[in-house]
């Protein structure tokens, strides 16, 4: 007699072991490859085209224009020309609709720099999630409203004493520092003011204490791209049949995203650190897969259990043999 309740988790069913790409090992190499794109000296002619990552265009080796600087400049001249940066909006919409904030986690050179700094000290300090709203304050205030107001008052962007470009640590580090060193060696003295030096020092100190402080709290571009995380074709998907109900995904997420309750949030930079066990996997929406995913739940899954959106019902935690981490998680 079979006394199992329909819909109940299957007892002690072995979870299939699937070989998955080790995203944490691949990511630094992809970031390095993208560094070659953003820092290509032969690509100077692309300065007229806005890029999709946070990278100062005053850097001697930058190939694309900084989208944040372009937006602030357009805001400053908006009262004069009434111009809107359509090309910039187009680039950001394409990137946002395609991958969302994956560009932050895998392509941004400034994020890569912070990742490298974090490898020195292995920072443990985690910032609260509400701080990520600061990105939108910077976007609305420093990038759009303040330059527009000062431009309306008649101050050109270059002469505005408070602007995102004057406060930006990327500009100080990627442009101010190289030019100052060059000027120092050529006998013309140090160029950067003490404010910029202080910004660089504070930023470096913060990046050693916590992971990606700029991205988490201030980056207006990351905040804008993260708005598209809920619609972008590339997204993260939860697969209940692979979930062991362990806190591994939440533990690995330095952004503080509660991955085990909600994914594809605005705080996520899609570093894919949470996609290690297979329960959360990166996915690219295609027309046929969209039709498959929006299909109503069937009566039974292939494993004979009722599941959500066709996926199998969750299984009980099953420590994998020989895994020290799993043994720690499931004592």
């Amino acid at each position: 007699m079979n006394d199992s309740v329909p819909g109940a988790p299957s007892p002690a069913a072995p979870v299939p072991v699937v070989r998955r790409p080790k995203w944490a090992k691949i990511r630094p190499w992809v970031q390095t490859a993208f560094l070659g794109v953003w820092l290509a000296p032969v690509g100077r002619w692309l300065h007229a085209i806005p890029g999709c990552t946070f990278h100062c265009y005053s850097c001697p080796l930058s190939s694309f224009a900084c989208p944040v600087g372009i937006a602030a400049n357009y805001a400053a001249v908006f009262p004069v020309f009434l111009e809107i940066p359509f090309a910039l909006l187009g680039v950001l919409l394409v990137v946002g609709g395609l991958v969302g904030s994956l560009a932050c986690g895998w392509a941004c050179p400034f994020g890569f720099l912070q990742d490298l700094l974090a490898k020195i000290t292995r920072p443990r300090l985690r910032l609260p999630n509400w701080l990520s709203h600061g990105r939108y304050v910077v976007l609305a205030g420093l990038v759009i409203a303040l330059p527009m107001y000062l431009g309306w008052k008649g101050t050109p962007y270059d002469e505005q004493s408070v602007s995102i470009c004057r406060l930006c640590p990327a500009g100080a580090l990627e442009a101010g520092l190289p030019y100052s060193v060059q000027s120092l060696f050529s006998g013309h003295g140090w160029l950067m003011g003490w404010q910029k030096v202080a910004i660089v020092a504070i930023f470096l100190g913060a990046a050693l204490l916590t992971i990606r402080p700029w991205c988490k709290v201030f980056c207006p571009l990351g905040g804008f791209l993260a708005l598209f995380n809920r619609w972008s074709l590339f997204h993260l998907r939860y697969k209940a049949s692979q979930c062991r109900e362990c806190p591994l995904c939440r533990t690995r997420c330095w952004s503080g995203v509660k991955v085990d309750t909600k994914i594809n949030t605005a705080e996520c930079i899609r570093c894919l650190e949470c996609a290690t066990c297979g329960a959360i996997e990166p996915h690219f929406a295609l027309p046929q897969s969209a039709a498959e995913e929006t299909r109503p739940p069937g009566p039974t899954s292939p494993t004979g259990q009722t599941g959500q959106t066709g996926w199998a019902a969750p299984r009980r935690p099953q420590p994998r043999q020989g895994s020290r981490k799993n043994a720690q998680l499931f004592p």
């Binding site: 806005p50 111009e83 994914i263």
Partner: protein, 118 residues
């Protein structure tokens, strides 16, 4: 460290599975492509120093290379500026009245290569 993370009481069935449709992302990308191509090709209202209108690419390039130049009014020789008070030397002229809107104008110098002043 893994043991220090509190395990939430979360019903698996109510978890966000993250699935989404294809079309919202596709519409965003299509809109972005149209805006991007049109934006790169179009002419803005800004004038260049050579005359004519600057394209959005030229305006963007001007931002990155200090190419925005303020327009100074040019008067024909022998004609005095009508905004100046008559009978007063240029040093003794009263300051211009403050306006409520932006009256300054720029022209785009497409050949500028100056470093960013910020």
């Amino acid at each position: 460290m893994a043991n220090q993370v509190e395990q939430p009481a979360q019903a698996q069935a109510s978890r966000d599975v993250g699935s989404r449709g294809f079309w919202p992302g596709f519409v965003l990308i299509a809109l972005g492509l149209v805006l991007g191509v049109w934006g790169i090709a179009r002419l803005t209202k800004a004038e260049t120093v050579d005359g004519g209108k600057a394209s959005e690419r030229q305006l963007t390039k001007a931002f990155t290379s200090g190419g925005l130049q303020p327009v100074e009014p040019k008067l024909p020789p022998g004609v005095s500026d009508p905004s100046l008070a008559p009978g007063l030397p240029p040093d003794a002229q009263p300051p211009p009245p403050k306006t409520k809107t932006a009256k300054h104008k720029f022209r785009v110098n497409t050949g500028a290569t100056a470093a960013c002043s910020t």
